[in-house]
C-alpha cells in the first residue's frame, strides 16, 4: 500500500528541471483565477485543463500503447450524455452521474475492443473512427437522446454544489484542476506499473512482448477501457460546464482528432507531452479562432493546425517533448 502511494506521488525518476517546472506550472494554475479577471481568459484556461485531461487519457492507448484511436469522442459523448440525460430526466446530482457514464464507456469499449484489437495500424485507426461515427449517427437518429437538437441542462435558481452549478467560473476552474491532478497522479502510477511496462513493451515490439509471455490483447483491451473511462469523465464535466450538449459538440470526429493531436504535438508516450500540446493548441484555437472569426476569415486557424500536424508528422514524430529530450541529451 505504501509502495503504491509512493509510486503515485513520487517523481524521483524525473530530472530536477522537470520537478521545478511542474511545481511552477501548478502554482500558475492555482493562482490563475485570482490574477486574471477576464472571463474569456478564464474560459480558455478551463478548456486547456479539460483538453490536457483528455490528452492524458488518450496518451494511455495512443502514446504508451502506440494504438492510434481516432474515436475518443464517443467516450466523451457517453460521459456528457450520461450526465445531461440523468440530470434532466431524474434530477440526479452531478456527482452520481460521473460513475454511470464512465461505466457505460468502459462497458461499450470492452464490447468492441476484442474484435477491434484483432486489427493493427491503419485498420485499427479506421475501425475506431467508424465505431465512433456509428455512435454519433445513432445519437442524432434516436429521439430519446434529444436527436440533433441535443440536451439542455436547466439552470438552477441558486448555485448548487450537488448539481455543479456555481455563480463563478472559479469553482469550475478548481474542479477541473482537481480532476486533472487526479488523472496526472494516476498517469504517474500507470507509467511505472506492470501494466504500463507491458503496454510499452507491446508498443515497441509486439512479437517480442508476446514471446515474453505478455498477453497482448488483454493488455491492450484493459488500457483501451481505462482510456474510455477517462474520456467519459471529461465528458461529464463538459456537460455540467457548458450546460448544453449535442452530438456535433461532444461526439464529432474533429474532437477525436483534436484530442489525439494535442498528444501528438506535445509528444506521444511522454508524461508531460499531452499537457504541452494542450497548452499550445487550445489557446491557439481559442484566440486565433475568435480573432479570425471576427475578420470573417474562416478556416485559417485549421489550416495552421493542419500545417503543424504535417510538419510534426514529417519532422518530429515525437512532438515537442521529443525536441526537449534531444536537446537535453546533447548537453
Amino acid at each position: 500500500m505504501r509502495q503504491v502511494l509512493k509510486n503515485i506521488l513520487s517523481l524521483e525518476d524525473r530530472p530536477r528541471s522537470e520537478k521545478i517546472g511542474f511545481i511552477i506550472f501548478i502554482v500558475i494554475i492555482l493562482v490563475f483565477p485570482w490574477v486574471v479577471e477576464g472571463s474569456y481568459a478564464r474560459a480558455v484556461m478551463i478548456k486547456f485543463l479539460l483538453f490536457a485531461l483528455f490528452g492524458l487519457g488518450w496518451n494511455l492507448i495512443g502514446g504508451y500503447g502506440g494504438q492510434v484511436d481516432l474515436g475518443q469522442a464517443k467516450n466523451v459523448g457517453f460521459g456528457a450524455y450520461a450526465t445531461a440525460l440523468m440530470m434532466v430526466w431524474w434530477k440526479v446530482p452531478f456527482w452520481l452521474t460521473l460513475l454511470p457514464g464512465m461505466a457505460f464507456a468502459t462497458a461499450e469499449s470492452f464490447a468492441v475492443a476484442y474484435p477491434m484489437f484483432r486489427l493493427r495500424g491503419h485498420y485499427f485507426a479506421i475501425a475506431t473512427l467508424c465505431v465512433a461515427l456509428v455512435w454519433k449517427e445513432l445519437f442524432v437518429f434516436w429521439d430519446w437522446t434529444g436527436g440533433a437538437r441535443g440536451v439542455e441542462i436547466p439552470i438552477r435558481p441558486t448555485p448548487d454544489f450537488a448539481y455543479m452549478q456555481f455563480g463563478s467560473p472559479i469553482y469550475y476552474h478548481y474542479f477541473i484542476f482537481l480532476l486533472f491532478i487526479a488523472q496526472l497522479l494516476f498517469m504517474n502510477w500507470f507509467r511505472k506499473s506492470k501494466l504500463g511496462y507491458q503496454l510499452q513493451a507491446i508498443r515497441d515490439n509486439e512479437e517480442a512482448a508476446a514471446s515474453l509471455g505478455i498477453n497482448v490483447t488483454n493488455t491492450k483491451v484493459i488500457t483501451y477501457c481505462i482510456t474510455a473511462a477517462l474520456g467519459a469523465m471529461g465528458g461529464s464535466f463538459m456537460a455540467a460546464y457548458y450546460l448544453y450538449i449535442d452530438p456535433d459538440f461532444v461526439m464529432p470526429l474533429d474532437l477525436s482528432i483534436l484530442i489525439a493531436m494535442t498528444v501528438m504535438v506535445g509528444g506521444a508516450g511522454s508524461m508531460w507531452g499531452p499537457i504541452l500540446g494542450a497548452a499550445i493548441l487550445i489557446p491557439l484555437d481559442m484566440y486565433l479562432g475568435a480573432w479570425l472569426g471576427g475578420q470573417k476569415r474562416l478556416g485559417i486557424d485549421y489550416m495552421i493546425y493542419a500545417l503543424i500536424m504535417m510538419f510534426i508528422a514529417a519532422r518530429e514524430p515525437k512532438g515537442i517533448w521529443g525536441v526537449f529530450e534531444r536537446m537535453r541529451r546533447r548537453r
Partner: protein, 285 residues
C-alpha cells in the same frame, strides 16, 4: 418488382461511382501500404473545379473532367513529394497524422476560398436531365458517370497489367526492395501511384458534382465510403475495389430505402465487420 429493379439499378450506378472513388485509394495502399485520409478531399477539388467552370466561367461542367484529372494528378504527385515521401519512414502514427493533416489543410483551404456554403452545379448538358427506359427513370449524369467509371477501370487495369510502366508499378507493390534491385525507380512509382490515384478521384469528383452538392466538408464521408469499399475488396486489389464498390452501392441504396438517416451507418458497420472477420477483404491477397 418495379421498385426492386429501380433500386438495384440505382445501386449499381452508385456502386460504379463509389468504385471509381475507391480505385485510387486502393492503388496507393497497394503500392506503398499507406492510407490516404485526404482522398475525399482530392475528390472535393474535382467537384469545385466543375462548380467554378459551370458557375463562374459559364462552361459546361463536362469540360472539368480533363482539368480535374490533371489537377488531381498534380495534387497527388505534389502531396507525395512534399509530404508522403517524408513520413513513409516514420512510425505509423506519424503516417496517419501526416495524411490527416493534408486532409484538414485541403478542407479548410476550400472553406477559406469558397466559404462553408452548400453549392451545386446549376447548368450543363447532363445536369438535371433524366432518361426513361420503359417504366424506369434515371439521371443521365449518373449513367454517364457509371459508364466513365467502367472505362477508367478498364484503362487502369490494362495499364497495370499490359504496359511496362504498369508492370513496374505492380512490382513495386509486390516487393519494393526487390523492385529497386531490378532497376525500378520506386520513388517515381510511388509518385505515379499518387498521381493516378489523384487523377481518377478528381474525375470522380467532377462527375459527382453533376448530381451531388459541394461543400468543403464533403470529402470525409466519401473517404470513409472509399475505406469501406477498399477494405471489402481487399487493400490493393483493383478488381476487388470494383466489385466491392458495387456491393457498397447496393447496401447503401437498399438500406437508404428503409432507414434513410442511417444509410451511411450501415457502410461503417460493413467496414468494421469486414476488417474484423476477413481482414484481407473479399478479393485481397
Amino acid at each position: 418488382m418495379e421498385l426492386v429493379t429501380q433500386i438495384v439499378l440505382y445501386g449499381i450506378l452508385m456502386g460504379l461511382i463509389f468504385a471509381l472513388i475507391a480505385l485510387g485509394l486502393s492503388l496507393i495502399f497497394g503500392v506503398m501500404n499507406i492510407v490516404n485520409f485526404a482522398h475525399g478531399e482530392f475528390m472535393m477539388v474535382g467537384m469545385y473545379i466543375a462548380y467554378i467552370l459551370s458557375t463562374t466561367l459559364h462552361l459546361d461542367p463536362l469540360i472539368a473532367l480533363p482539368i480535374a484529372a490533371a489537377a488531381g494528378y498534380l495534387l497527388g504527385v505534389m502531396s507525395y513529394h512534399l509530404l508522403v515521401h517524408h513520413i513513409l519512414r516514420g512510425p505509423m502514427v506519424a503516417q496517419l497524422f501526416g495524411t490527416f493533416g493534408l486532409m484538414l489543410f485541403l478542407r479548410y483551404l476550400a472553406m477559406f476560398i469558397f466559404t462553408p456554403d452548400v453549392r451545386s452545379v446549376g447548368q450543363g448538358i447532363l445536369v438535371g436531365k433524366t432518361i426513361s427506359l420503359g417504366w424506369l427513370t434515371f439521371d443521365v449524369s449518373k449513367f454517364v458517370a457509371a459508364g466513365l467509371s467502367l472505362l477508367l477501370f478498364a484503362l487502369v487495369y490494362l495499364m497495370i497489367n499490359r504496359t511496362k510502366l504498369g508492370r513496374a508499378l505492380k512490382a513495386t507493390s509486390l516487393d519494393a526492395e526487390a523492385a529497386q534491385y531490378m532497376g525500378i525507380d520506386t520513388k517515381k512509382m510511388n509518385a505515379l501511384a499518387w498521381g493516378i490515384g489523384g487523377a481518377t478521384v478528381g474525375i470522380a469528383g467532377a462527375l459527382l458534382a453533376h448530381f451531388y452538392y459541394v461543400t468543403p466538408t464533403v470529402g470525409m464521408l466519401f473517404t470513409l465510403i472509399a475505406f469501406a469499399t477498399v477494405a471489402l475488396g481487399g487493400f490493393g486489389s483493383i478488381v476487388g475495389a470494383f466489385l466491392a464498390g458495387l456491393i457498397i452501392g447496393l447496401i447503401m441504396v437498399v438500406s437508404g430505402q428503409y432507414v434513410s438517416e442511417l444509410k451511411f451507418t450501415f457502410i461503417y458497420i460493413v467496414y468494421f465487420l469486414v476488417v474484423v472477420f476477413r481482414p484481407r477483404g473479399l478479393f485481397g491477397w
